[in-house]
Symmetry: C2
Subunit: 197 residues, 2 copies
């Protein structure tokens, strides 16, 4: 048995950070072979794990790219709930977005590559869109918890999503990995301008 085989054996038994390794392996393989042409078996093999371990952590092949979404939702919701009492609904939503942006700032290169990968597959786009919709629903609930009326909360959450998406697209297209939060503020300003009478 080679050292590599032994390492894999130990890994399979203990699976330390199985999630992280599967995500890393999937990301590499999707980039090398394309999303459609990568199998779950190949992802598991590259991570030195079994297919069964893969499915213990992810419901399907797509899900491996969306590991951070619960954490992101939590940052968003906490950011909204902890905004000063005097904050307007939109200011509270912006505080939530700023909290999220911290998760991205250190992963600019990864975020850009991941966005490219998602754009390459309708299946991945579908999953991305439903994650965003669920974040929007969570933001709406958080705003309602702050006492914002339901219809206003929905509108603000939708608008926050626009600010996030437009800011995000501008951010991954540029080289300054620190500017995400700033680009979202600019997107909101631009939004005010384009909707002005």
């Amino acid at each position: 048995m080679s050292l590599g085989d032994m390492t894999n054996l130990v890994r399979m038994r203990w699976e330390p950070d199985a999630v992280g390794r599967l995500q890393q392996a999937a990301f590499e393989l999707f980039s090398e072979l394309g999303y459609e042409d990568t199998t779950v078996a190949e992802i598991a093999a590259r991570a030195g794990l079994t297919k069964r371990t893969f499915f213990r952590h992810f419901s399907d092949k797509r899900e491996v790219l969306f590991g951070g979404s619960e954490q992101l939702t939590e940052l968003l919701v906490t950011g909204i709930l902890e905004a000063p009492e005097s904050a307007t609904p939109m200011q509270a939503a912006s505080a939530g977005l700023d909290a999220c942006s911290q998760m991205f700032t250190e992963r600019h290169g990864f975020a850009a590559q991941r966005a490219e990968l998602i754009a390459s597959s309708p299946e991945l786009q579908e999953r991305e869109l439903i994650k965003l919709a669920s974040m929007k629903a969570a933001a709406t609930s958080a705003l309602v918890q702050r006492g914002v009326p339901e219809t206003t909360a929905e509108l603000v959450a939708e608008t926050a999503q626009t600010v996030f998406q437009v800011g995000f697209n501008r951010w991954i297209a540029q080289d300054d990995p620190a500017a995400f939060s700033l680009l979202m503020s600019e997107a909101l300003e631009d939004l005010r301008e384009v909707t002005a009478l």
Copy 2:
């Protein structure tokens, strides 16, 4: 052979309005049995057609609920392109939305039931979201064709989607089937208000 059998036979041979009949059958069955518990074979049988005919018209079970989306995109794009030259980007986008709203106005009950059905299934939600994303992309291109810079076009198309979704949700929740366009105007006004400094 009963008269019903004969009618089905003629239908199977000629398939007049196969698409419409499959949509109607799917809609009924999804409402009766639930989306998950309805099979394509059952939809085809209810429409007096074969499974093969179903797949000639729709790529999968979900797609049968999204038959009008190409037509809707065409209305949106034409509405944007044909807006007066003097229209601001947001006004052009609003003209596109108004054009779309005509397609809904006569189908208020159907639209409300369909929305309920979609909300009942994550699979259907995914498909709905990707259809909306593709409409947004079409709106962005139409705005760019009018000479709107790409980044502004994207922002305006996103905002138009917000106005559409918020207006739509308010519209299906109320009883006046004529008011969709009006509710979108109100949503845009509310959006201005919530984003004001």
